[in-house]
């Protein structure tokens, strides 16, 4: 028996779609921002990036060894999906909002040749970096697919683990995105996510302000 995402719509306090938010404009703005992170990671953003950020977030040096610098430099996460436990050999992993592929490549090494990783991102420049890094590193148990979190290009109940890093806060419809994560997870599957928490409430006007979504 499966647990359907729609069954969770009654959860008290669950995030709902934001009224009058221009989702197309929001996605375009996010793509524009993260295309720059992919192509000009040294540019300087409202968040840290690259190897200094990896240290701040507790990434172990051994995880980064052998991973092409292009993927390390474009890290723009806000947490560490692996801090909650290493992935096991043979597991299947989905990396939602994989960016330039650093977490997907780390995951691919953790799960080994019997495991598999699918990284999903909506920004073509990020996917291009991720694919080139996988080729350069000779990692062949990872595949990068274009898509959005609210419609993951992954079959039902495929994954043992869903990881994500600094991306959930960018979902226009968080319940739909979390529902997709639930859909692709096997029963008993795990979520290991780094993201953002806001300690003060955000008003409806602010939720529609795309500049605030970007930073």
């Amino acid at each position: 028996m499966t647990v359907t995402p729609n069954a969770r719509a009654d959860v008290p306090g669950a995030a709902r779609p934001i009224a009058n938010l221009d989702v197309a404009q929001l996605r375009a703005a996010i793509q524009e921002e993260y295309a720059l992170v992919a192509t000009e990671p040294e540019r300087g953003f409202h968040f840290h990036t690259g190897r200094p950020l990896a240290r701040l977030l507790g990434y172990e040096d051994a995880w980064l060894e052998g991973i092409p610098e292009a993927s390390v430099a474009s890290l723009a996460g806000t947490g560490n999906p692996f801090a909650m436990g290493a992935l096991r050999p043979g597991e299947r992993v989905v990396d939602v909002g994989c960016g330039a592929g650093l977490d997907s490549l780390i995951a691919a090494r953790m799960v080994g040749p019997q495991g598999a990783v699918v990284g999903v991102d909506m920004t073509p420049q990020m996917l291009d970096r991720a694919r080139r890094s996988a080729d350069e590193a000779g990692v062949d148990n990872v595949e990068f697919r274009h898509g959005v979190a609210e419609a993951l290009p992954v079959p039902d109940a495929w994954a043992d683990v869903v990881i994500s890093n600094g991306v959930l806060n960018l979902f226009p419809d968080k319940l739909a995105g979390l529902g997709e994560m639930a859909r692709v997870l096997k029963p008993g599957g795990r979520l290991q996510i780094g993201d953002i928490l806001v300690e003060k409430s955000v008003g409806d006007g602010a939720k529609r302000n795309i500049d605030l979504w970007k930073g």
Binding site: M1, V3, A7, V11, P12, G13, G44, F45, H46, F47, H48, L53, L56, L57, T78, G79, N80, P81, A83, M84, G85, G166, A182, L185, K186, P187, G188, G189, R190, L191, Q192, I193, G194, D195, I196, L197, V198, E199, K200, S201, V202, G203, G205, A206, D211, L212, K214, G215
Partner: protein, 62 residues
Amino acid sequence: MDFEITWRADVFSGAPQASNAAKFGTVGINFRARKPSHEGEWHRALASLRCEVSDPASQKGD
């Protein structure tokens, strides 16, 4: 279910650009959760769900 925030930290201070969203008290977190193994486990977890929020009026960010 089994949702748990395992870590939180200021991950934005010192970034090259100032954040417009900083006034909302944004911090980086790690969290984990698990998909129920079956419907019964999910319904039991839902029935026992509790969420406590301190005075929202004192936390308004805008």
